[in-house]
Symmetry: C2
Subunit: 355 residues, 2 copies
């Protein structure tokens, strides 16, 4: 990963962020600074990590509106790496993004550069999710073993939770006490343990998605093709409701169709990420499938906090990684987990029929 790759990576991660995952811009600044200071970051396929090599999954946690990358000292990854090496009794071989969507997909470049370690071409979500147990490692039944948090002050907290739900609960409390923002490692695992427990190829995918948008004269078409996405609607934002509380942003969005979509209305329900899309009371797309609102001209992702009345947008949806469609995947991050009383149906089976 070089400085030249960062614009494509940032666009790709923002699109995979489905409206959440924090602002990519500050992640880009951190990554650029770290590459300039510590050098380029090799991106390696999981197959290249030795079976007993330790992988350090990292993510910033905190309310997305806090902009956690702004509140970091830069030394948090060192504190965490040292603690993990103490705990596991051997060196860390590579860094991994816990969450490719949003800033947590970009910032690991900075963290890996700071540590002089390669970045694994994989992550824990293949998208963004609001809670720390919503990762493929949890779905695959891996023990959370330890959660290590470092904050800008230099406080280091290590949690050995009884399960992933307690990990989320305690980690979030520590994060709030530390000023609503912290760097976190969880589900530390070896190369061998990672096979089948993480989502592979997602750093490359983010780069490819971003490059498709950047290098095309018709970015929206290029993006739709790169993702093999369904365009749920082309239109205009006519209503945005949003409130921040308890470290989460909740709200909804209404888009009125324009052009060929005139006369249609799409409603998107938001909890940090875009979770559900409805039209005429019928489901058009649902978490864990990805739903992203993009600028109609540039195809840049529009984050939950950046939504404004009058924006010309397209709403795209595309399939999540197969692990999220398993029974345990849906029990972890399906629509009912977020309080929606609906059964999950894959987006490719939810076709729109004109009334």
């Amino acid at each position: 990963m070089t400085l030249d790759d960062l614009p494509a990576l940032a666009r790709g991660c923002a699109i995979l962020g489905t409206g959440g995952g924090g602002h990519v811009e500050t992640g880009v600044l951190k990554a650029a600074k770290a590459i300039a200071e510590f050098g380029e970051v090799p991106v390696v396929p999981l197959a290249d990590v030795p079976p007993d090599g330790l992988i350090l999954p990292l993510s910033g946690i905190g309310a997305p509106t806090v902009g956690h990358e702004m509140l970091m000292s830069g030394e948090e990854p060192v504190l965490i790496r040292d603690e993990v090496e103490r705990l596991f009794g051997r060196p860390v071989a590579a860094v991994m993004s816990s969450e490719i969507g949003g800033s947590n997909g970009v910032s690991p470049v900075a963290w890996a550069a700071r540590l002089g370690l390669p970045l694994v071409d994989a992550d824990g979500m293949g998208r963004a999710f609001p809670e720390v147990q919503m990762v493929a490692m949890y779905v695959a039944g891996r023990p959370v073993n330890v959660v290590v948090l470092a904050d800008v002050q230099g406080n280091l907290t290590t949690i050995r939770p009884v399960d992933g739900l307690w990990a989320e609960r305690i980690a979030r409390a520590v994060c709030v006490a530390c000023g609503a923002s912290a760097l976190m490692a969880d589900y530390v695992l070896t190369g061998e343990e990672a096979r089948g427990s993480v989502i592979e190829g997602t750093v490359s995918a983010a780069l490819a998605i971003g490059a498709a948008v950047l290098n095309s004269a018709e970015p929206l078409n290029a993006l739709r093709e790169a993702l093999d996405a369904t365009v749920l609607i082309n239109g205009k934002v006519i209503d945005v409701e949003r409130r921040t509380g308890g470290g989460f942003v909740r709200g909804s969005l209404i888009i009125e169709g324009t052009g060929d979509d005139r006369g249609r209305l799409l409603r998107v329900e938001i909890q940090n990420e875009n979770l559900i899309a409805l039209e005429d009371g019928r489901l058009r797309a649902s978490v864990p499938d990805l739903i992203t609102v993009v600028d109609a001209q540039t195809a840049d992702a529009i984050s939950t906090e950046s939504l404004r009345y009058g924006q010309r947008v397209a709403v795209l949806s595309w399939p999540c990684d197969p692990i999220w469609r398993t029974e345990r995947g849906l029990a972890t991050a399906g629509p009912r987990v977020f309080g929606y009383d609906i059964d999950y149906t894959p987006v490719e089976e939810l076709t729109h029929v004109r009334p």
Copy 2:
């Protein structure tokens, strides 16, 4: 420490709890059960702990109204001991009470019994205080190094804070996330490091105070003599204000004098513990000196939660350990720390003059 010692220990710790420190009764039940199951607990002077022997200061943290001893599995000390031995690379030699006042003075008997370790005749406060950095080890300038918390579910959290204030902030957040109650070790130190950094002889003192009350036909006189205390007032509770929030109990108490004290009113300000006593707008006693409300007949301590209108009581005050009267001691737990805009004056210099 045998089963027969527990009634005196409990009374002594309640009196040193100055109204706070949690209910001693559940601590007694735990200690009795643990002694019956695991055997008696040797109480050893600090001088008997080898210079390089590791001392494990333990306390329950949480709102006193939660009654944290009720919410423990009994295995928390084992989780914490194992973690501390991992972190420090050698065995723990003895348990110490972090806070002799209230239930945290009694429960260490249970924890030491469970671990098969002796209990050091010392503690970190010589009384009860509401915050974890209010310990002699902090006043003596010892680093907090690590804070280890275990909860009833089995979650284990280890904090390496940058200072004692961050330790308090993060530990309390973890405690709340774990259900408002946890067992905690902090300021782990060797026998050599403990000399001058802890308050010695306080387990013996609690036993002696309790025994004086239990074995006398005039318990109130016996208590006053054992403590060399000033009796601030003998009277009747005529007003109690109390509210619980943020893990703390705040309130105040008014006592109307009876007998020789007829015509006098004493006001006691409470923040978990009894902190300030005022009469006619003049200071009679102030934190860090100890102020305890006791039953006029039995001389049993009346905790903040047990105060009721109409109780016949005596209010006693006596000097704190000299470490609390140092500049750093007063900066840590003097009246201004609790929001009172007054200079500390030792209780023995605050004599009452009849109007």
